[in-house]
């Protein structure tokens, strides 16, 4: 395998081509070598299909990459021995019509048609209709067992997805989550790009992670083009990324408070989330940071007055959000609902490959800003925050720890922004290259991988939103819980539907 750094590119020919058995062994051995699967995907290679893998070593800050070429329309599944690839294998099967033989949970991911006509992993013909949500759901049988089906349209202002609970009274034996309703064909459209729409689609892959995905995409373009963002541009991206984290974590603390009927923090955080969004808008005009991150740096800059205003607002928001969060930890009725609810063990989190606050709440030291730093995070370090208990409390408390550190970071950055332009011209992608880019979005690791063809256009583009790893974590958190705790558990993960469905 070849060693790569985050946000780097190499000629495609330097990605080692392994025999399938060696490729499989490398993936299976990963968990034992402190490596986890950041991406596993297929792309056409002549008439055949190639599999690519990106393994992240969080201790040595190295990404390991390799590929193999598949013979025929099947391969032995790696999921039984390496569960964290379970959804990657299902995705490969659905997109390309190759079957991972022996996969224990072999179902569609997004209910999309194979990109290779005449090849379907479930043996369906090309004109057979594919209906979203129609699959063989896991069922528990028994006289007193009942099934609760929820969605795709939910009761709140929220994206669509389908949830099936197998229950005995209030007790949940199993939750199955079936998604795909949000599928917009984003990855497919990137092939042949970058197009003039690509950056706008990146900003809306998961609209609440505009900065995270746009930064990952720009890092890919900069690596492929052998260009670099300006230091000041890197600093603004970092500030925007932490403001995005602050807004969303604040919103999550408020929503968690709301779900246990603790209205003070719910009301305060509802307002404070907007205050953080409005700080991003002060910088670039958009509350979600649309238009801010562009290849070569940042499209907006700020002078002394604007920076002073940002700092003033940060100080005010810090005071109020600290008070709102402390109320949670100091209120026994809140803690009684947070603690011991929706627990995910460290072992489960590791074997499923969870990322972000959901992983750190189980004690896993995974944070791209610290373990695979790129851009400003190579220069300025943010301490990694973890909790041990893996329950709703841990996922809430990790968010708060991260918020404190994000506030310190933004304040420090605003005081020591590098001089110079915020943006420079980025050369076009080089032909025949392979680039990997990781960004620690507020939900966790955002991973983009791109391959360019001989024309310098994208021959393949893989997006792995943190939610892709983490939805199964939510399903595990619900085991042996009361179904009435689902909203609370769900909110403690707050995963993206469109980021998963692309």
């Amino acid at each position: 395998m070849i060693e790569l750094a985050n946000a780097a590119a190499v000629p495609l020919v330097r990605i080692p081509e392994l025999p399938f058995e060696a490729f499989r062994e490398a993936v299976l051995a990963a968990p034992g070598q402190n490596r986890r699967v950041s991406a596993l995907f297929a792309a056409p290679s002549g008439e055949r299909l190639a599999l690519y893998v990106v393994l992240a070593d969080d201790e040595d800050s190295v990404l390991w990459c390799a590929r193999t070429t598949l013979d025929g329309d099947s391969f032995p599944s790696m999921t039984p021995e390496c569960p964290e690839v379970h959804l990657f294998e299902r995705e490969i099967a659905e997109q390309w019509g190759v079957r991972p033989v022996g996969h224990p949970w072999f179902k569609p991911v997004r209910f999309q048609r194979s990109r290779r006509p005449g090849h379907d992993a479930w043996g369906r013909t090309d004109d057979e209709p594919i209906t979203v949500g129609v699959t063989d759901f896991f069922r528990v049988e028994g006289d007193e067992i009942h099934e609760v089906a929820v969605g795709p349209v939910h009761a709140g202002v929220i994206e669509p997805g389908h949830f099936r609970f197998q229950c005995h009274g209030e007790h949940v034996f199993h939750l199955e989550i079936s998604l795909g309703y949000q599928h917009r064909g984003a990855e497919r459209k990137l092939i042949g790009g970058p197009h003039k729409r690509s950056i706008h689609q990146m900003e809306t892959l998961a609209g609440d992670t505009t900065i995270g995905h746009a930064t990952a995409y720009c890092q890919v373009l900069e690596a492929l083009g052998s260009g670099r963002a300006t230091p000041r541009g890197h600093a603004w991206r970092g500030v925007a990324l932490e403001l995005e984290r602050l807004a969303n974590h604040t919103g999550d603390l408020g929503a968690l408070a709301g779900d246990v009927a603790f209205l003070p923090t719910a009301a305060f955080c509802g307002r404070l989330r907007g205050d953080f969004l409005n700080m991003t808008a002060l910088l670039c005009g958009s509350r979600f940071g649309r238009g801010l991150v562009r290849p070569g740096g940042a499209a907006f800059d700020a002078d002394g007055d604007r920076i002073a205003e940002l700092r003033r607002r940060l100080d005010a928001a810090e005071k109020d959000v600290t008070e709102a969060a402390r109320l949670l930890w100091d209120t026994a009725s809140v803690m009684a609902r947070f603690e011991e609810t929706g627990r995910v063990s460290r072992e489960t989190a590791a074997s499923l490959g969870l990322v972000g606050p959901a992983a750190r709440a189980c004690g896993l030291r995974r944070d791209v800003r610290k373990t695979h730093p790129a851009g400003i995070f190579q220069v300025v370090h943010i301490p990694l925050s973890t909790c041990e208990s893996g329950d709703v409390f841990a996922r809430a408390y990790v968010r708060w720890l991260e918020m404190e550190r994000s506030i310190d970071y933004v304040r420090a950055q605003l005081g020591e922004l590098p001089r110079g332009d915020a943006r420079r011209v980025c050369p076009p992608p080089r032909p025949g290259h392979f680039a990997v880019s990781l960004v620690e979005g507020w939900r966790g690791e955002v991973c983009h991988v791109a391959l360019t063809g001989d024309d310098g256009r994208f021959a393949a583009y893989k997006v792995v939103d943190p939610s892709f790893h983490n939805w199964t974590g939510l399903a595990m958190a619900l085991r042996d819980q009361q179904i009435s705790d689902f909203p609370l558990c769900n909110k403690s993960f707050n995963l993206s539907y469109c980021g998963h469905d692309l």
Partner: protein, 249 residues
């Protein structure tokens, strides 16, 4: 308990004075565009070529707010300064064709027809359906429920069931996978009922227009009563549209 009361005191009164007072918007906010076709050289179409969604048209110069992402690619491409964006947040319209502007300002938006207006003016319950939305529009719809906007003071609320609703507020380009669920939700709303399309995706497909996986917005499925442009629209743009529809401005 005392601590919660003290916090409540410290956090203060936060509900904005809108619509009595003008909204506070960032100076870099990109709202209603201004176009000056007199600056366009003959045959020039650099703005249209730069636009990612085909929202800008030339001969004569005009802009479809229903497709516009407010990304300023057109403004930056134009060497003549013929396109600019103001901080006017009022963008909503009742008719699809009224979203195409030649930059000559906006006429006052018409409210609902007299009969439905009488029914909904003081109490409008909406069911939200996200049909491929990126959680940008959803988030800025949700924020209307916070103490800052306090949507309920206008009698507008989001309800959990379409059976309890007077209409749908739809976001997203309407993915192929959400068409059936959207149609079923619409069927479940008792008439008279209204449809509100929020965001470029719901109006035109937005950045995903033309993808075979999406339906390019809700317009081909349902008759839309209110279009709210933006990517995503600012909460004040949505609120302005809702209040205009109910003749409450």
């Amino acid at each position: 308990m005392l601590r919660a009361l003290l916090a409540r005191w410290n956090q203060g009164h936060r509900t904005a004075g809108y619509p009595g007072e003008p909204p506070s918007l960032p100076d870099r906010f990109r709202g209603r565009p201004v176009l000056d076709a007199s600056r366009c050289p003959d045959g020039c179409r650099v703005c249209a070529d730069a636009c990612p969604t085909g929202a800008v048209k030339t001969d004569p110069l005009r802009l479809d707010l229903g497709s516009c992402l407010f990304c300023v690619e057109c403004q930056e491409a134009c060497p003549e300064g013929a396109i600019g964006f103001t901080s006017d947040h009022r963008l909503a319209e009742r008719a699809r064709e009224d979203l195409v502007t030649s930059g000559d300002g906006r006429k006052r938006m018409a409210a609902l027809e007299a009969r439905t207006l009488r029914l909904f003016r003081r109490s409008l319950k909406l069911r939200q359906v996200s049909a491929g939305g990126c959680n940008g529009c959803e988030a800025d719809v949700n924020v209307l429920g916070t103490v800052v906007f306090d949507l309920a003071r206008f009698g507008i609320q989001f309800v959990a069931s379409p059976r309890h609703a007077d209409g749908l507020l739809i976001t997203g380009p309407v993915t192929a996978h959400m068409k059936a669920a959207l149609a079923a939700t619409w069927e479940a709303v008792p008439p008279p009922r209204i449809v509100i399309a929020v965001g470029a995706c719901a109006i035109s497909g937005g950045p995903y227009a033309g993808h075979e996986e999406v339906n390019d917005g809700v317009g081909s499925m349902l008759s839309v009563d209110l279009y709210v442009p933006g990517c995503p629209p600012h909460p004040y743009t949505i609120l302005d549209g809702l209040l205009g529809l109910l003749d409450r401005l």
